[in-house]
C-alpha cells in the first residue's frame, strides 16, 4: 500500500501546488468516481468529521457539490448561506468563523466576495480551510475538476493549448486555471476585451490576444468564462451585443480550433452571449462532465485534507 504525503492543512489556491500533487489529486479523483456509480453511494472514510460549508455568495452548483462530496464520505455537514445567518445582524467574518470552530468543525469550506478571505481564515483557524472561491483571487476546486475532466477525455494534460475567453480581470476561475495548466506543462492564451484583461497577466506566463480568431487557432481546449452583466454598467464594455459580436463562441469560431477541441465553461452560462447554445450542447462540450466531476474531485480533496491524522 503506497503512502502519499499531502502536507497541506488547507487548500487555498492552485498557486503553490506541485505537478505531483495535482497528479495525485487526479488519481484519487478517478478512484473516487467509482463510488458515484454504486447504488449505495457511501463510504465510511470521514465518519465522525464535521464539515462546515459557509457561502457568502449564492451558488447552487458548487455548494451542493461540496455537500454531496462530504456526505458520500460519511462526514456530517452544516451548510450556511449568508442570507439566513447572523451575518445579516452585523457579526464580523472572524466572529462567525470562530463561533463555528468553537462548535467543533474539522473543516471549513468558504466562498466569499473578498479576495484573500480563505488565506485570512486559514491563519486564524486550526481546522482545514478549503477555498470555494474568494473574490477575484482563486477557485482551486474548479480548476482541479477542469483539469480532471480534460484528463478523462484526452488521457493527458501537458503540451496542450488552452484558450481562456472572457472577463479575465474579475475571474478567479481564470487565475486558478492559468496556474493549473502552467504547472502541469501546458500553454495558456487569454482573450477578451482589453478593459477586462488585468495588468501584468503576462507575468504568469500566458499569451494575451485580443482577436478571438487568432486566439482560438489550434486550441485543444476553449474555456469560456461567464460574462457578468454588472460589468457593463461600469463602462468596461458597451453592450452584450458587441461582446457577443467580438468574443462570442459560436460554431464558426470553434472551427478555428483543433478538430478534437473540448469546450468548457464553469457555469452558469449566458446562452447567446459568451457562448451559443449550439456550441454549449455540441458533442465537443464537456460542460456537463465538469459538473459530474466536481463531486468526485471534491471527495478526493476532502479525503486528502481530512483522511489522515492531524498534521501537528
Amino acid at each position: 500500500m503506497k503512502i502519499v504525503s499531502w502536507r497541506h492543512k488547507d487548500l487555498l489556491g492552485i498557486e503553490g501546488l506541485t505537478k505531483e500533487e495535482i497528479e495525485l489529486i487526479i488519481e484519487t479523483t478517478s478512484n473516487m468516481k467509482e463510488i458515484l456509480k454504486r447504488t449505495i453511494k457511501k463510504v465510511p472514510t470521514l465518519r465522525g468529521k464535521t464539515i462546515c460549508i459557509l457561502f457568502y455568495e449564492p451558488s447552487t452548483r458548487t455548494r451542493s457539490s461540496f455537500e454531496l462530496a462530504a456526505k458520500y464520505l460519511s462526514a456530517d455537514t452544516i451548510s450556511i448561506a449568508t442570507s439566513v445567518s447572523s451575518v445579516q445582524k452585523g457579526e464580523s467574518l472572524l466572529d462567525t468563523v470562530k463561533t463555528l470552530e468553537a462548535m467543533g468543525i474539522d473543516a471549513l469550506i468558504i466562498r466569499h466576495s473578498s479576495s484573500g478571505v480563505a488565506n485570512f481564515l486559514a491563519k486564524k483557524l486550526s481546522c482545514s480551510v478549503i477555498n470555494a472561491g474568494d473574490g477575484m483571487h482563486e477557485h482551486p476546486t474548479q480548476a482541479l475538476l477542469d483539469v480532471y475532466t480534460v484528463y478523462e477525455k484526452k488521457r493527458r494534460i501537458d503540451g496542450m493549448k488552452i484558450t481562456i475567453v472572457g472577463d479575465i480581470m474579475h475571474s478567479r476561475v481564470a487565475r486558478s486555471n492559468i496556474y493549473v495548466w502552467k504547472t502541469v506543462g501546458s500553454n495558456v492564451t487569454v482573450c477578451g476585451p482589453s478593459t477586462l484583461i488585468p495588468p501584468g497577466i503576462e507575468n504568469l506566463g500566458v499569451k494575451v490576444e485580443y482577436n478571438i480568431d487568432k486566439a482560438l487557432e489550434d486550441s485543444d481546449i476553449i474555456y469560456v468564462l461567464r460574462l457578468q452583466l454588472e460589468r457593463q454598467k461600469k463602462s468596461l464594455f458597451p453592450s452584450l451585443r458587441e461582446y457577443h459580436y467580438l468574443f462570442g463562441i459560436t460554431e464558426d469560431r470553434v472551427k478555428k480550433a483543433k478538430k478534437d477541441v473540448l469546450i468548457m465553461h464553469p457555469g452558469p452560462m449566458n446562452r447567446g452571449v459568451e457562448i451559443s447554445s449550439e456550441v454549449a450542447d455540441s458533442s465537443q462540450s464537456v460542460i456537463n462532465e465538469q459538473v459530474t466531476n466536481g463531486v468526485a474531485v471534491r471527495m478526493a480533496l476532502l479525503y486528502l485534507l481530512l483522511g489522515g491524522g492531524k498534521l501537528e
Partner: protein
C-alpha cells in the same frame, strides 16, 4: 535496525500446489462453482484471485468472474496515520447480489483488512455467503475473523514480517519471513 530475511516458506511450486488444493476445496465445499464470484483484496489478493480463476477453469471448465476491491476508504486506522494511504481502484463489474463471494488476500494477520473488506462488500450489495481464501495465515488475530481456506499456516512472532512476492507484481513467486534485527 534492519529487516533481514530469515527463511523461505514457499517457493514457486509450493504456491502453485497450495492454490490448486484451495481451488479443489472451494469446489468441494460449494458443491460446484455456478454461484461463485472471486474478489481479490488489493493489492496482492488480486493476482491470487486471477490464478484461482485459472485453476477453477482447468478443473471445472467454467470461468468464474473476478473483481478487485480497494479497502483504503474503509480502513479503521486512518485517524491514526499522518500520511493517507493512496486510494486504489475498486473494479467489480458484476453483481454480488445473492452470490457466494470468495474474498482472496495474501496474508491474514490481525483481521482488520478483512473486516474493512466485509464492510466494503456490504455497501456493494447483499451476498449469499462470503468466504475467505488466504495464502498465508500468520496468527495474531485482533478481531474474530477466520479464513475458510488457507494455503499454509505459519506461526510467527510479532517482530517478524511475512512477505508474499508474486510474479505479476514482484517478478518472482515466493513467500519469505523477515525479521527486525539489531545491526
Amino acid at each position: 535496525m534492519i529487516y533481514q530475511e530469515k527463511a523461505k516458506i514457499l517457493d514457486k511450486e509450493g504456491i502453485r500446489r497450495a492454490l490448486r488444493r484451495v481451488a479443489h476445496e472451494i469446489i468441494e465445499r460449494n458443491k460446484g462453482i455456478e454461484n461463485i464470484v472471486l474478489v481479490g483484496i488489493r493489492r496482492r489478493g488480486v493476482p491470487l484471485a486471477y490464478r484461482l480463476q485459472k485453476y477453477l477453469k482447468e478443473i471445472e471448465g467454467k470461468e468464474v468472474p473476478v473483481g478487485s476491491l480497494d479497502i483504503t476508504l474503509y480502513r479503521d486506522d486512518l485517524n491514526l496515520r499522518l500520511d493517507q494511504p493512496k486510494v486504489g481502484k475498486t473494479e467489480i463489474d458484476f453483481s454480488i447480489e445473492d452470490k457466494d463471494v470468495i474474498l482472496v488476500d495474501d496474508v491474514l494477520y490481525t483481521g482488520r483488512t478483512v473486516r474493512s473488506a466485509l464492510d466494503a462488500l456490504m455497501d456493494l450489495g447483499r451476498p449469499k455467503t462470503v468466504q475467505l481464501v488466504v495464502l498465508i495465515d500468520r496468527g495474531h488475530r485482533e478481531l474474530p475473523i477466520r479464513a475458510d481456506y488457507v494455503g499454509k499456516n505459519v506461526p510467527t512472532s510479532k517482530k517478524e514480517l511475512i512477505e508474499v512476492r508474486l510474479e505479476e507484481i514482484d517478478g518472482i513467486d515466493e513467500v519469505v519471513i523477515t525479521e527486525w534485527r539489531d545491526e
